[in-house]
């Protein structure tokens, strides 16, 4: 049986995570919550499921004799484990549900890796992906209820679906399929040089313009700066990679900033986000739009270098028992910083960095442009999403409600991230 490296890495990740979460359970049982005194066995069940699921995946890959990248699964599982620990410390009930989602997500991952579909064939559905992205993003505009000022979720009764989590994947597939086609290749022909910048002819600026308009519509209709930033950022990075023209990055950044600024002038919900970013401290801002930003920063500040210890997060107010709003979905990075400190944050950031690095490496070894752009797009998507939410929590950029991949609580997010992992693993097969 192959894939010994993957097995070793998985074991390490799980052992480290298990030790950490055992500490959480002991602390929980000891100080915080008498009702959680049975926390140790429950936490053990959560981790047993995580281990079984992770090794299940590993063995399926090994049995198939797959030569897919051996580091991506352990890294993703380590992040998921960190996520479970953080979620457990904030809301044990959510951690239980997250494990259920994990099973589903790993099911999706397995379906992807057992070659249910031929990755190269995905290229043929370029307009399906385009229309799918638009359709998925339109869904919440039509059906969603407003939560925290943003319209992101569709309530399906059993669970809440967040279509943008799937749409980000279809966007990457669309970009890869479109840019690898003959039409897309023409975009790379630069023959226009305004202000000394190499740009494609105005005709090929159309996609940029279309995407910019789409991002602005998202911004206004979904009331969500984060999703707009994620989609637009992924788009300009991928198109830059395909065309090697820095003009896309420069003009993309400028046009998005201008658009967001204009939107802030026109729409209260965008303005609130920007204001809460620039200065969350005045009492009236702190009570409303700046609340999440400030509580996140309080948590980060409390962590110091080494953290206050796993399970000791005061994102749960010890006096009221109330958890900061949306802590497990929007602010897990802050809770993580509080519990594990700057070192823990550096470790998690390094894990994401490694994931992105592997994705870009997979991309470089692909035989055709579509698969190369697909792998690259997945890496870019991961990087942009991680940066947007981590930067938001640390007040580097405005805080928005997008999830931290593998760590945030949420079914849609977890499934979509493992789908990304599955596609990447598939791409990485047969490289050597």
């Amino acid at each position: 049986m192959g894939r010994a490296r993957e097995r070793g890495l998985l074991l390490t990740a799980l052992l480290v995570g298990l030790t950490g979460s055992a500490l959480v359970a002991v602390v929980h049982g000891g100080t915080f919550d008498p009702q959680q005194a049975d926390s140790l066995p429950r936490q053990a069940i959560v981790w047993a499921q995580l281990a079984v699921a992770a090794f299940g995946c590993h063995f399926v890959l090994a049995r198939r004799g797959s030569d897919a990248d051996e580091t991506l699964l352990p890294v993703s599982m380590a992040l998921t484990g960190v996520g479970l620990t953080v979620i457990y410390s904030l809301d044990p009930a959510q951690a239980q549900r997250q494990v259920t989602w994990l099973w589903l997500a790993l099911g999706v991952l397995l379906l992807t890796v057992i070659r249910l579909v031929d990755v190269a064939k995905l290229r043929e559905y370029v307009y399906v992906w385009g229309a799918g992205t638009a359709g998925l993003l339109l869904l919440p505009i039509l059906f969603a209820k407003e939560v925290n000022g943003a319209r992101l979720w569709i309530d399906l009764g059993v669970f809440k679906l967040q279509p943008s989590e799937l749409a980000k994947l279809t966007l990457v597939m669309f970009l890869a399929a479109y840019l690898s086609s003959a039409r897309g290749a023409a975009i790379a022909e630069a023959d226009w040089r305004p202000l000394g910048l190499r740009l494609p002819s105005p005709r090929y600026l159309v996609p940029l313009l279309v995407m910019w308009v789409a991002a602005m519509v998202l911004l206004v209709a979904l009331r969500d700066l984060g999703t707009a930033l994620l989609f637009f950022g992924t788009f300009i990075c991928v198109i830059y990679a395909a065309t090697a023209q820095p003009g896309y990055l420069v003009f993309g950044a400028i046009s998005f900033t201008c658009g967001a600024w204009a939107a802030a002038q026109m729409f209260g919900h965008v303005r609130n986000r920007i204001q809460a970013w620039l200065n969350p401290w005045p009492e009236e801002v702190l009570a409303k739009s700046g609340y999440q930003v400030a509580q996140g920063l309080f948590a980060i500040a409390a962590g110091g270098m080494g953290g206050v210890g796993l399970g000791m997060s005061q994102m749960v107010n010890p006096f009221t028992g109330r958890t900061v709003f949306a802590a497990t979905t929007d602010l897990p990075f802050a809770a993580l910083c509080e519990q594990m400190g700057l070192w823990g944050a550096a470790l998690v950031v390094a894990l994401y960095g490694f994931w992105v690095y592997r994705a870009l490496r997979v991309s470089l070894s692909q035989p055709d442009n579509f698969r190369a752009l697909l792998a690259l797009g997945l890496g870019v998507l991961m990087a942009v999403q991680v940066f947007v939410i981590m930067g938001g929590v640390t007040k580097l950029i405005p805080l928005t409600g997008i999830t931290l991949p593998f760590i945030s609580y949420g079914g849609s997010s977890l499934i979509s991230n493992f789908l990304m992992l599955g596609l990447l693993l598939r791409c990485s097969e047969g490289q050597r």
Partner: protein, 491 residues
């Protein structure tokens, strides 16, 4: 397509972005960590404040003004989820002096926040390194014993009581300052509130909902009033210093006077006739002092007034962080200080606003030969082992006017209590210098002001009193000031 060229560049871009995130994390933990830990909206702050025994606040004679006691009351509804390990170790604040020092000592409640000394010196009362909750399983078994540091004020609770009684149920404030050092001896005001009642939601709602009296406004150090005629002494001192006037310089007062393009009215409608500066102070002649200010000129007047620190936030709570609690005064400067404005400011009207604390500080400066010390409230901070961690002391001082100008001004202020002065017969045998004021304002009758410095020949104490909407200075504020002065000098 050449991903081999662009992908590594993108990777470098992302790594730079991730590094920035980590720099931010470091910035918030290492650089801003202490500030965040002490933020009143941070639940972690209140965990510390409530579960560590907070230091006491004492007056200069060791009387307890605030202390922490174990909270034995049954947990309220909001506390239902309180972990039992914490609930056993909760402290609450007790204020044995009731409402007497509500604005100085302030309150400290996890629902309503903090004010006064409780807020400004919180990092001493509950040190950041104090452990609110055990940080590990082992600390849980043996919690490290710790209590906060005690803060001793320069303030005298019995003098504070005298001042509060003298003021009675009239809105206003009394501030007494040690002339030699700037140490605050009392700082009473009305309306007040009972800091213990703050934890009661209904009582609190009533306090913040009261938009008529503003009982939460610390009038003594944060109430901004037009200073009225009390400001004349500063104009006079500035002119004496510059040599543009002497106590015997004479001015013509006909009741009203056109100065430049504005009309100045004297309180004595028939006019004071030929009047010296000395009589102008004693009888509070607006026209004489407007002329003194115009003769002095805008820049010289402005320079002296700014030297009193009127536009700065006094570091009253030093070494605490409470500068934001104490607002600066207002004074027109530069282009805003044109002829009519200079004339009006010269006798204390115009666009001027000061706190009673500032005016007491002005009395301190004149009594101390023109050397101004920033007023201060904290005498010392002692650790739980009795060691002195901080000792309050007057600052180096700032010479606002020369000693001779200050002495001459004080001599003129002494005439205020003599026959013909606006406070004649008020001193009851004490050797005092003073100045009455009645400040016109848009909220009804004039505010009654009084500034007293005593003893006139060897000043020790400066007292400033304001009584809102009470008319002439000698009627309402004067007797209060004299009463507090008597108690302060007799200490």
């Amino acid at each position: 397509m050449n991903l081999h060229e662009t992908a590594p560049r993108l990777l470098r871009l992302f790594i730079a972005g991730f590094a920035l995130v980590l720099v931010q994390v470091g910035y918030w933990t290492l650089y801003r960590g202490a500030e965040m830990a002490n933020h009143q909206r941070n639940p972690r702050y209140w965990t510390r404040v409530r579960s560590v025994e907070r230091g006491r606040i004492l007056d200069s004679h060791g009387q307890t003004l605030a202390e922490s006691v174990l909270d034995t009351e049954p947990a309220k509804k909001a506390d239902d989820d309180l972990p039992s390990a914490l609930r056993r170790h909760l402290f609450r604040r007790r204020y044995p002096q009731g409402d007497l020092l509500s604005h100085v000592v302030g309150y400290s409640d996890w629902r309503q926040g903090q004010s006064g000394v409780e807020s400004a010196l919180s990092s001493y009362l509950t040190p950041p390194q104090a452990l609110a909750m055990p940080r590990s399983f082992w600390e849980l078994l043996s919690p490290p014993p710790r209590r906060g540091d005690d803060v001793v004020l320069t303030l005298d609770a019995s003098l504070q009581k005298t001042a509060a009684l003298a003021l009675g149920n009239r809105a206003g404030a009394v501030v007494a300052v040690d002339v030699q050092t700037g140490a605050v001896l009392c700082m009473a005001d009305y309306p007040r509130f009972d800091p213990s009642s703050v934890s009661d939601g209904k009582a609190w709602a009533k306090l913040i909902g009261n938009k008529e009296d503003y009982p939460l406004l610390p009038r003594a150090y944060a109430g901004l009033y037009p200073p009225g005629s009390t400001f004349k002494v500063l104009t006079a001192a500035a002119a004496l210093q510059a040599g543009t006037a002497t106590p015997q310089s004479t001015y013509q007062c006909d009741g009203t006077d056109k100065l430049g393009h504005s009309t100045v009215k004297c309180d004595k409608r028939s006019g004071h006739g030929q009047i010296t500066l000395e009589r102008g102070i004693a009888q509070s002649c607006n026209i004489a002092l407007a002329r003194v200010a115009l003769d002095l000129g805008a820049s010289a007047w402005e320079q002296t007034v700014l030297a009193t620190g009127i536009t700065q936030r006094p570091a009253l709570f030093r070494p605490g962080t409470g500068t934001a609690l104490v607002p600066p005064g207002k004074v027109p400067t530069g282009a805003a200080l044109d002829g009519p404005q200079l004339a009006a400011c010269g006798y204390g009207q115009g666009a001027l606003a000061v706190t009673p604390l500032y005016l007491a500080g002005m009395g301190q400066m004149l009594g101390n030969g023109g050397l101004r010390h920033e007023p201060y409230l904290v005498d010392r901070i002692t650790g739980s082992d009795g060691s002195v961690l901080y000792k309050g002391a007057p600052d180096a001082g700032n010479l606002v006017v020369s000693a001779s100008a200050a002495r001459a001004t004080l001599a003129m202020m002494a005439k205020v209590f003599e026959s013909g002065g606006t406070a004649a017969g008020l001193s009851r045998g004490m050797d005092l210098a003073g100045k009455t004021g009645s400040a016109q304002n848009p909220h009804g009758q004039a505010h009654s002001w009084f500034l007293a410095v005593g003893p006139a020949r060897n000043p020790r104490v400066a007292v400033a009193v304001v009584v809102e909407n009470a008319g002439w200075g000698r009627v309402a504020a004067g007797p209060v000031a004299v009463q507090v002065m008597r108690a302060a000098l007799g200490r």
